[in-house]
Amino acid sequence: MSTEPLKALLFSLCGAYGVTGGEDSASLLAMRELSKYMPAKMDALHSVHGETGNGPIHILLDAHIDQIGFIVTNVDEDGFVSVAPCGDADKRVLPAAEVLILGRETLYGVFTSTPPHLSKGDSGKVKDFDKLFIDTGLPAGKAKELIAAGDKVVFKSKQRELLDGKVVSPALDDRAGVAAILRCLELLKGVEHGCKISVAFTVQEESTGGGARTSAYAIGADEAISVDVTFGAALGIPPEKTFPLGGGPLIGMAPPLDHGMSQRFIKIAKEKNIPYGIEAMGGKTFTNADGIAFSKAGVRTALISIPQRNMHTAVEVCGLEDIGNTARLMAEYILERGAAGDA
């Protein structure tokens, strides 16, 4: 199957702005995409919800719609803009990085980079947010008129395709998961699968985790499949902590995750010849799955992860094939779960 439609969907989703805590425009786009498959709406916190189908079991498909970014804290007397991180941005990639300030207008800016001549032998030390500013090229008066504390800031970066179906973009964490769910729905389009399916594209995973908790509460599913990204193998990173791009989705195993569901995923992946790996964690998963699993009286929850390089930077990298296989794996799970006919 051509990966072009998936790539187009993914780049479109990643092109929308949804800094954690300010997801509206990304949510609007995701809602439009979801409404191709089911009635969709936005909840009080701007998470997107949809529901379709009927059956004895109610399965929630979840991915977070927010992305890491920054929030304006001050505009100084020379017009330089101070920010705080929203989510765990990697400070090592910020000097001279390009951003967009989502103020009264969308403004281009560049993070300041202190020239080496100014360092007292500490030029190699990572600058914290008290020494990083955004240069908008605007005089102070104009900057203060257009930019205010609380405005969100996103990386401006190019979306590129690398060799062999790998793609580069900011916000692939977790629009890759959103895209995987939408592709799964495409695969199930017109198929009698025998399940009640809810979808949640949830806010604030990168910050408070509030989106997953509240959406899981509102939806009240029997089972949930949360889709997120995980660490992709790359040079200089311990292989035991990472998973190869192209190796397929990772099936999570961790205390909050339902072991029966994980086992079922493995069985299906083997039967359907879908490449997969197992991601074992000794405690929390630090994903939406943690919040969903213990919402209401508990939801059986699985975590499916897409390997990603350079997480939380402007150059996140995922493989289209892995996203496609994540969609397939979920679709096969839903088909089998529906065929089983129990809750």
Binding site: D76, D78, F80, D88, A89, D90, K91, R92, V93, P95, A96, A97, E98, L107, Y108, V110, T112, S113, T114, P115, P116, H117, L118, S123, G124, K125, V126, K127, K131, F133, D135, T136, G137, L138, P139, K142, S157, K158, R160, E161, L162, L163, D164, G165, K166, V168, F231, A234, L235, G236, I237, K241, G246, R309, N310, H312, T313, A314, V315, V317
Partner: protein, 339 residues
């Protein structure tokens, strides 16, 4: 002139690979001046003026830019690289790049922030720790797209933003090239030599050869220099400021400039209402260091465009500074010619 700068910044040419820049400049001056390319890769241009000068004046700007060179391909298909020219470790991680003649997209990969040990969080990774990821799963696959010895560049667009600001990849020193192109395109008071030099960023080898061949009495180096007029930096450490016109050097790490030329530049600026400012820190070096030492010596001055975040993917200048610098370069060139 801004259009010329945009075209020039759209070209790729690390030190020693200035061909595309040189070809473009030739295409722009073909019927306007005499020119030749020398063995060092310099483009030497002679433009007839209205008068024959008393002194021979050479303007110089370098065509090359900082970037990368692929040094090794790992078995897993990652590219190890070295920097060509000085690029600070703080602007390497997590950047988009383009590799080789085919401009294959890649990124400089980073270990995810979640997996860093505390000491790794404190320092920018050095270049020998880093790699370019073009998505190749193996050495063989990478070898189909790129090769050891390929140049690589920051993948960074030309952007006009803010209040007359411009951001681009190779502004250092395509800005100087754009100024000279603009001067060659118009009328000049005196016969003038222009050297579009090669390999400034790796030691000004090109400029040395150019000065040797042209034999100027006076030379004006048109450059871009670091401007640290950013939040938290005060006094002389700012070096120069965007919007203040050309930064004029009295001394840098390669050259001690003749005091009378430095003074004359400010005098001409004042008399003609042209903006100019001193470069307030003894830092950096440029082609002037090679030019003043050539043959029996050349009297040289450097005019620099103040440039924030120089040698990064996001060099930022103020467009009005371009025009002010050109005005001063013209005034000085004529002054030196008739001395």
């Amino acid at each position: 002139m801004l259009n010329k700068l945009e075209s020039l910044c759209g070209l790729y040419g690390v030190s020693g690979r200035e061909d595309a820049v040189r070809e473009y400049i030739i295409s722009q001056i073909r019927d306007k001046a005499e020119f030749h390319t020398d063995n060092s890769g310099n483009l030497i241009v002679f433009k007839k003026g209205r008068q024959v000068p008393k002194n021979k004046v050479m303007l110089a700007a370098h065509m090359d830019e900082v970037g990368f060179i692929v040094t090794f391909i790992t078995d897993d298909g990652y590219l190890r690289f070295d920097t060509v020219g000085g690029i600070d470790a703080s602007v390497l991680s997590g950047r988009s790049v383009l590799v080789g003649g085919r401009l294959v997209p890649g990124v400089i990969g980073v270990k995810p922030v979640h997996l860093l040990k505390s000491e790794e969080k404190e320092n920018y990774p050095e270049k020998d720790m880093l790699y370019i990821d073009i998505g190749a799963p193996s050495k063989a696959r990478a070898g189909e797209a790129v090769s050891v010895g390929d140049a690589a560049y920051f993948d960074s667009d030309f952007v006009e933003f803010g209040d007359g600001f411009v951001k681009g990849r190779a502004i250092d020193d395509r800005a100087g090239c754009a100024l000279m192109l603009h001067m060659i395109g118009g009328e000049l008071e005196f016969d003038t030599w222009f050297a579009f030099t090669a390999q400034e960023e790796t030691g000004s080898g090109g400029a040395f050869a150019a000065a040797f061949a042209v034999e100027p009495d006076y030379s004006i180096v048109l450059e871009a220099t670091t401007a640290a007029d950013i939040a938290g930096v005060k006094g002389e450490k700012r070096v120069c400021a965007l919007g203040g016109g050309a930064a004029i050097s009295f001394m840098d790490r390669g050259t001690i400039y003749p005091r009378d030329l430095f003074d004359r530049a400010f005098e001409l600026a004042r008399e003609n209402g042209v903006k100019a400012q001193p470069k307030t820190l003894v830092a950096g070096s440029n082609d002037a260091a090679a030019v003043f030492k050539s043959r029996a010596g050349v009297r040289v001055l450097t005019l620099s465009l103040p440039c924030r975040y120089i040698h990064s993917p996001s060099c930022v200048i103020s467009a009005p500074d371009l025009y002010e610098t050109e005005k001063l370069a013209r005034l000085l060139a004529a002054d030196f010619a008739r001395r």
